[in-house]
Symmetry: C2
Subunit: 343 residues, 2 copies
């Protein structure tokens, strides 16, 4: 009751029963090569003694930990959490657990996390690169050691030997902006994120493409690339942006749900009527757009499904014959525009 108890191990059961450790091990494994009566005895004794197998010893011996390492840029972004939920959902079916760590939007942290995973704690790695991640040697190193890797979301460069899952950001934003244009909008503002991040670059490209294709004037003044890495700063940045405009936008396409909500809030405060005077579109559709008044039209990104897919690919890699030249898979998931009251 007071001192840390010594765990019951196979040996203890074996000794009590006067049989060998191997037999106990096999019995608990339900190996058919052990007599049923013996198996029963072993199970009863194990239960009586409160036996619990030692996962670490198992892992050392088997070379498998049944843990998937997940590295996301940040916790406080519902998208990543939703992906994790998808991963967890799929992984659990196959008896894998997930070890989540945040790179805190820092390349250095990402590298450290990766190295820590390289120490054999995980069977494979799922990673969403930060905006700072320009070189991919740290990832290639991991792959070269034979550790399965799947990348998702912000993929600047395809890495040989890893699978990739993302959406077609350019197309998704193109469609959304096209929708606004077809509604007759002329002064369409763009609120993007950190310029270094591939997903934001692509969403910007889609915006530009739609504007150009339909010959809509692009006003530099109506374009903002948010630099902020946390919510409060985003809020301030967006407020400042709209306060200083000389041109009144009649629509705003934004690159995250949060930007969309902050935009709506700011516009409402400035007296704009949504959607009568200005339309707003968000990106992600992680639940909040539905609650806001007016509810927000969003590009819906299949986050949970992305998590499931990513986990599926990783577990497929585990089961591949013997890593013989893993052919990388590049999966693009579909997005759709969910229409609500803000447009």
């Amino acid at each position: 009751m007071t001192l840390r108890k010594r765990r019951v191990k196979l040996e203890d059961i074996a000794r009590k029963l006067n049989i060998s450790i191997a037999t106990v091990s096999r019995a608990l494994d339900k190996n058919p090569r052990v007599k049923l009566s013996t198996r029963d005895k072993v199970f009863k004794m194990a239960k009586a003694m409160g036996y619990m197998p030692n996962q670490i010893a198992k892992s050392l011996s088997s070379g498998k930990t049944n843990i998937i390492g997940v590295i996301i840029p940040r916790y406080d972004e519902p998208f990543f959490i939703e992906v994790c939920r998808g991963i967890d959902h799929y992984a659990r079916e196959y008896d894998y657990k997930i070890l989540i760590s945040s790179s805190r939007n820092s390349f250095e942290f990402e590298r450290e996390n990766l190295i820590s995973f390289e120490k054999g704690l995980v069977d494979g790695i799922i990673l969403s690169p930060t905006h700072e991640t320009e070189t991919f040697v740290h990832i290639k190193n991991i792959i070269n050691k034979g550790i399965p890797v799947v990348l998702f979301d912000n993929i600047r460069e395809e890495v040989q030997g890893a699978d990739h899952v993302s959406i077609e950001d350019d197309k998704a934003s193109f469609s959304a902006v096209e929708f606004l244009i077809k509604k007759g909008k002329k002064r369409i503002a763009f609120i993007g994120g950190i310029k270094e991040k591939k997903v934001f670059q692509d969403r910007y490209k889609g915006y530009l493409k739609a504007m150009q294709e339909y010959n809509i004037t692009i006003y530099e003044e109506l374009i903002l690339h948010c630099d902020s890495l946390d919510r409060e700063c985003e809020d301030a940045e967006i407020q400042k942006f709209f306060n200083g405009l000389s041109i009144k936008p009649d629509a705003v396409f934004t690159c995250t749900d949060n930007y969309g909500l902050l935009t709506m809030k700011t516009l409402l405060k400035l007296g704009y009527k949504i959607p009568e005077e200005v339309s707003v579109i968000g990106f992600g559709d992680l639940g909040l757009g539905e609650v806001f008044v007016p509810s927000m039209t969003c590009v819906a990104q299949p986050s949970f499904e992305m998590g499931q897919k990513v986990a599926e690919l990783l577990i497929d890699q585990f089961n591949e014959a013997t890593d013989v030249n893993h052919r990388k898979k590049v999966i693009k998931l579909d997005t759709k525009l969910v229409l609500r009251d803000s447009t």
Copy 2:
């Protein structure tokens, strides 16, 4: 490049250098008992060969994994994620990683997760019990095995040998309701969560206490205990509630941020003016209340800090002499009412 590579191990380095494994091990440990020149040789060779220690082997040998197991009822609740972020933040300082798993609001899953952690994968466990959790024998079992445990948030019963961290839910809601009363509100509605959950029971108690203490009439019709376990259902449930009222509330105290937001949305749609005709208060304050228009007054719960505290207590337990009768600590964190436009 094609086959899974065999990892470099101590033995490989030792052989190359014609020294013993023990010396290599000590050298890499920077053990002063090994000659500096040897240490240098070893480090160089280790680097050249791309040596990476095997964490599993280390753990088996040392009996420590440096992993903290975290069990939360669900992922899609910002409160829990924020707590995890706090845990991660603190734990990382002490070189611990966190293994998060969700009990999906199910006692059975909670038990399973706990058992899976009992297999020696984690050094200690942080747990937030589900609403279904009535018996605590599964937790006591873990504690009896000498595994450190810290509980947080929804603690129905104090468990001997575990630390506890929570807020004073009754006092927090009392203050919030008192604030509404002092504003002159007479028909104060209450939106709570699952009745089985201790935190909601306590928040309800605080509401009742304030109402009684100030002699305010309590209308049964204005009280709702949400049963839903996911967002869409909550939405429907709350809409239905407000649609059916014969008494018009002049204030609504809600037990989560989400209830608060859904309430505001529903009331706005029904044509209520906030805060002129009706005030709304949320509980949690996890960022969304600030964005909504009008912004929402909230009971602010220190989620990140709760995570840090919980991690601190667990790591303290790790370092305690030798589990000699761990005296459980019960910590109550402070809440405060953050005033915004909805009141």
